[in-house]
């Protein structure tokens, strides 16, 4: 695959390095000549382009129209948006991926047609929630079109779900428990499955039913 990465900061640099190691054709665009000189030393001149990633003449020169994906990882949301909009609308790049800093921009980018957004703030937040026993469901994935979320939580001792079959819990119709991890066992539950405290549960839900699901599984 031909992948174009815009923004040669730390994220862009390490991303280019690992994608190259996976055997992809990767070109990293960086506008600051001093930073670009460092990147050329590290990655080789074939993989770095010195120029403004928001400039369409740069795009024409790097063969944007044959790119399989454009990944914008500068530190500024507006720059990443413009890169992706140009790639998508002007050069018909099939996949555009943008890094965002303000998590609230995820919805805006989606509405404007950007395929995937990666929010560093939200990733760090999710990791913290995984590491600390907070009483909330962890968001693993938001399925953009359906408005459905994949969430994870651990059944709390004494919660409604502790020791009762799933069918009796009154789980909302637009939520579904799809996987249970118990010790070293992983299984797909049925209505008869009896959850126990400390079971790790994966569920899909609409945002509207997340609260109800949380109360059943976590008791709070």
């Amino acid at each position: 695959m031909y992948l174009i990465i815009v923004g040669g900061g730390k994220v862009g640099f390490y991303l280019t390095k690992s994608l190259l190691a996976e055997g992809h054709e990767v070109l990293l665009i960086e506008k600051n000549p001093r930073r670009a000189a460092f990147l050329i030393d590290e990655l080789g001149a074939d993989h770095v382009w010195v120029g403004d990633g928001c400039d369409s003449s740069t795009f024409a020169q790097v063969g944007m129209n044959r790119a399989d994906a454009v990944i914008a990882v500068t530190g500024d949301d507006e720059d990443n948006l413009v890169v992706c909009l140009l790639a998508k609308r002007k050069f018909n790049v099939p996949r555009t991926i943008a890094r965002i800093n303000n998590p609230r921009n995820a919805a805006i980018f989606a509405r404007l047609g950007i395929d995937v957004t990666v929010s560093t703030t939200e990733i760090i937040q999710a990791q913290i929630e995984r590491a600390l026993p907070l009483r909330s469901l962890v968001h693993l994935l938001a399925l953009r079109r359906g408005g459905i979320e994949l969430v994870e939580g651990k059944v709390a001792p004494g919660a409604p779900a502790d020791g009762r079959p799933l069918r009796e819990l009154g789980i909302p119709v637009d939520a579904l428990v799809v996987m249970v991890v118990r010790g070293d066992q992983t299984f797909i539950p049925s209505g008869e499955t009896v959850l126990r405290a400390d079971d790790e549960v994966l569920a899909v839900t609409t945002p509207a039913s997340e609260g109800a699901l949380r109360r059943l599984l976590l008791g709070a």
Binding site: E78, D79, V82, L85
Partner: protein, 132 residues
């Protein structure tokens, strides 16, 4: 008309005063409080301090009922993002964007934004002077 202006530099401040004088309801957004203070104590419009690419800031500036949105910060990409948000998310009927880069102005004009490039305007004006 309710007119929301993003960016209170020379152009933004000039436009804000002009529209306010003409009796329009004007709201000016800038990330620097000092820039907004340059409008003077007698400015009859409203001001909002904040980042114009933040939908929450735009909402606070009353973008939801705005007739016109004008993006004139010094940063092309900020103007583009704010304009797209105004147009696509808030459905503002008339959105005008100033872009210094003539190429970007041309492309985003093709993509449906109303763009003004001062570089092109000045170049044309200079050429006309020479022709006369």
């Amino acid at each position: 008309m309710r007119i929301v202006i993003l960016g209170c530099g020379r152009l933004g401040a000039y436009l804000a005063r002009r529209f306010a004088q003409e009796g329009h309801q004007v709201i000016v957004i800038d990330r620097e409080r000092e820039a907004l203070e340059a409008l003077g104590p007698d400015f009859p419009g409203e001001t909002v301090v904040g980042m114009g690419i933040d939908a929450e800031v735009l909402r606070r500036a009353g973008i939801e009922g705005a007739d016109v949105f004008i993006a004139v910060t010094g940063y092309d990409n900020t103007n583009i993002m704010a304009a797209e948000v105004a147009r696509e998310i808030f459905g503002v009927p008339r959105v005008i964007t100033r872009l210094n880069d003539p190429l970007r102005a041309e492309i985003f004009q093709e993509l449906g934004l109303k763009t003004i490039s001062p570089t092109v305007l000045a170049a044309e004006a200079i050429r006309k002077c020479l022709e006369a």
